[in-house]
C-alpha cells in the first residue's frame, strides 16, 4: 500500500500548483481560449455590475428624494390643515354672527311693521276726526256757515287730506323693497278695483269741483292676473297725482282699454288723464326717479315724497308691464296722460 506521506502530500499539491500556475508564469495562458473567454466574461460582468451599481445608486437617490418630497408634502399639508382649522373657526364664528344679525334684523322688521301699524292707526284716528268735522261743518251739516267760512273750512280739509295721504304712504314704504317672490298674483276684477278707488277720491275731487270720468270697454273686461294690492297702489298714486295737480273745475279720466287684448300676450291698458299742470319738457326723463318731484309740482303742492311714480314703475315692471306718460298737446287744456299695461297672465317662474 502506498500511504501518502507529508512530503508526498505536499509534493502532490506543489505539482498541481505548478500545473495551474505554469501557464501564468510563462504568459502562455494567452494560448488558452478559455482564458480569453473567462476574461471577456469577467469584463462583461464588471461592466454590468458597474451599471447595476450605478442604477442602484440612482434608484436609491430617487427613493431618498421621493421620501424627502413626501415628508415635505406632509409637512405642507399639515400646515394647510392647521390654517384650514383656523379659517373654519373664523367661518363658524362669522356664521354665528350672521345668524345673530339675521335674528336682530327679523326682530327689527317685525318691530318696524308693528310700529308702522300702530303709528298709522294712531295718526289716522284723530285725522279722521278732523276731516269729518271740517267736512260736515263746511257742508252746513253742523249748523249754518257763510261762504267765507266755508272757503276756509275747505282749505283746512284739503290740508288734512294731504296729511292723511302722507300717513298712507308710510304703509307703502314697506312694499318698496318687495321682490317678485313676495307678489301674490291672482285673477282680479280690474273694473271693480278702479271703481272702488274712484269712490275713495270722490270727496277730494268734489272739493276742487273736478269731474271724474271712468271709461271702460263695451265688452266685459276679463280678469287679469295681478297683485291687486300693489296695482291698487299704482292707480291710487296716478289718480292722486291727477287730482292734486289739476286746478279747479278740471277733469280726470280713468280709462281701461282692451285694444291690446288680441295680441299673442294680451294685456289691458289703463290710463289716467288729467287737465293739470303738465310735466316740463326738461324734466320728463327724471319723472320716474326716486324722490324726484318736478319743479312745477313742488310749486303747486309743497308736500310730497316723490316716491309714488318710482314705486309705481317698479310694481308695473314686476308685473311684466310698461308705464309711460304723454303730455297733452295742442290748443286744448294742458295736462298729462299716464298709461300702463298689464299682461293678462303672468309667466310661471
Amino acid at each position: 500500500m502506498h500511504w501518502p506521506t507529508i512530503e508526498n502530500y505536499a509534493g502532490d499539491w506543489y505539482n498541481k500548483g505548478v500545473l495551474i500556475l505554469d501557464p501564468f508564469l510563462n504568459f502562455s495562458f494567452i494560448n488558452y481560449p478559455s482564458f480569453w473567454v473567462i476574461l471577456l466574461v469577467f469584463f462583461i460582468a464588471v461592466f454590468y455590475l458597474g451599471r447595476f451599481w450605478q442604477s442602484r445608486e440612482s434608484r436609491l437617490q430617487l427613493l431618498i428624494d421621493e421620501a424627502n418630497l413626501k415628508t415635505q408634502q406632509i409637512q405642507e399639508l399639515e400646515k394647510v390643515n392647521r390654517e384650514l382649522e383656523v379659517k373654519n373657526r373664523e367661518l363658524y364664528s362669522k356664521e354665528l354672527g350672521l345668524t345673530l344679525a339675521n335674528k336682530k334684523l327679523q326682530t327689527l322688521e317685525e318691530a318696524k311693521s308693528k310700529f308702522i301699524s300702530v303709528a298709522t292707526h294712531q295718526l289716522r284716528t284723530p285725522l279722521a276726526a278732523i276731516k269729518w268735522t271740517l267736512d260736515m261743518t263746511a257742508k252746513g251739516q253742523l249748523g249754518p256757515v257763510n261762504d267765507d267760512q266755508k272757503k276756509f273750512l275747505l282749505q283746512g280739509l284739503t290740508s288734512t287730506n294731504r296729511v292723511i295721504s302722507i300717513v298712507n304712504d308710510l304703509l307703502k314704504v314697506d312694499s318698496i323693497d318687495a321682490d317678485q317672490a313676495d307678489y301674490n298674483f291672482a285673477p282680479t276684477d280690474l273694473v271693480k278695483l278702479i271703481s272702488n278707488l274712484i269712490f275713495e277720491f270722490n270727496s277730494q275731487a268734489a272739493l276742487k269741483k273736478i269731474n271724474f270720468v271712468f271709461l271702460k270697454p263695451q265688452t266685459a273686461v276679463p280678469l287679469v292676473e295681478i297683485d291687486a294690492d300693489k296695482i291698487r297702489m299704482v292707480v291710487e298714486n296716478l289718480i292722486d297725482n291727477a287730482v292734486k295737480y289739476t286746478p279747479e273745475n278740471g277733469q280726470v279720466t280713468v280709462k281701461i282699454s282692451d285694444e291690446q287684448l288680441n295680441r299673442a300676450e294680451g294685456s289691458l291698458v289703463v290710463s289716467v288723464t288729467d287737465s293739470g299742470i303738465g310735466i316740463p319738457a326738461s324734466e320728463t326723463d327724471k319723472i320716474f326717479h326716486k324722490f324726484f318731484r318736478a319743479s312745477n309740482a313742488i310749486k303747486a303742492e309743497p308736500d310730497g315724497s316723490g316716491l309714488g311714480l318710482f314705486i309705481a314703475r317698479d310694481i308695473i315692471e314686476k308685473h311684466g308691464g310698461a308705464i309711460w306718460f304723454e303730455n297733452q298737446s295742442g290748443s286744448g287744456p294742458q295736462g298729462t296722460v299716464f298709461s300702463f299695461t298689464l299682461p293678462l297672465h303672468q309667466k310661471k317662474v
Partner: protein, 126 residues
C-alpha cells in the same frame, strides 16, 4: 220689504267723538242708529236688535272687531247682516283677514268722508 221703515244701523266704535259724528250724520240721513262702545256690548246688542247693517271698528277694548265679526258670521240669526269694517288699521293682512271672516267691505276711516259712508250704505242696502 217695507220701504218706509227706516233702516237700522249699528255703529261699533270706541272713540267717542268719531262715534257721535258718525251717528249724527246717519241720523240726519234718516237712519235709525244704535251704538256699541266695545266688542262685548256689540255681541250682546246684535242678536237682540238685528240691525240691517253694522259698521264695525277693529281696535276695540276687550273683545276685538275680528272676534265680533267671527261670532256674528257664525250665528245663524245674525250671519246675513252685512258688516262694513270701518277701521283705521290698514295693513294688507288686516284687510284680507276681514274679508276672509265675511266682511262685506273694508273702509279706512281717514280715507272717506261721512257723505261717502252714506253712499256706501245706500249701495249695500239696495
Amino acid at each position: 220689504m217695507d220701504n218706509t221703515e227706516p233702516k237700522k244701523i249699528l255703529i261699533v266704535e270706541d272713540d267717542e267723538f268719531l262715534r257721535s259724528l258718525n251717528a249724527k250724520r246717519l241720523e240726519t240721513e234718516g237712519f235709525k242708529v244704535s251704538v256699541a262702545v266695545d266688542g262685548q256690548s256689540a255681541l250682546d246688542l246684535i242678536p237682540k236688535e238685528l240691525p240691517d247693517l253694522i259698521f264695525l271698528d277693529l281696535l276695540l277694548p276687550g273683545v276685538d272687531g275680528f272676534e265680533v265679526l267671527k261670532k256674528i258670521k257664525a250665528d245663524e240669526k245674525t250671519k246675513a247682516i252685512p258688516v262694513i269694517v270701518f277701521s283705521n288699521l290698514g295693513q294688507k293682512e288686516d284687510i284680507e283677514k276681514a274679508h276672509n271672516l265675511g266682511a262685506q267691505d273694508f273702509l279706512v276711516k281717514a280715507n272717506f268722508t261721512l257723505d261717502d259712508v252714506v253712499l256706501k250704505i245706500k249701495e249695500v242696502l239696495k
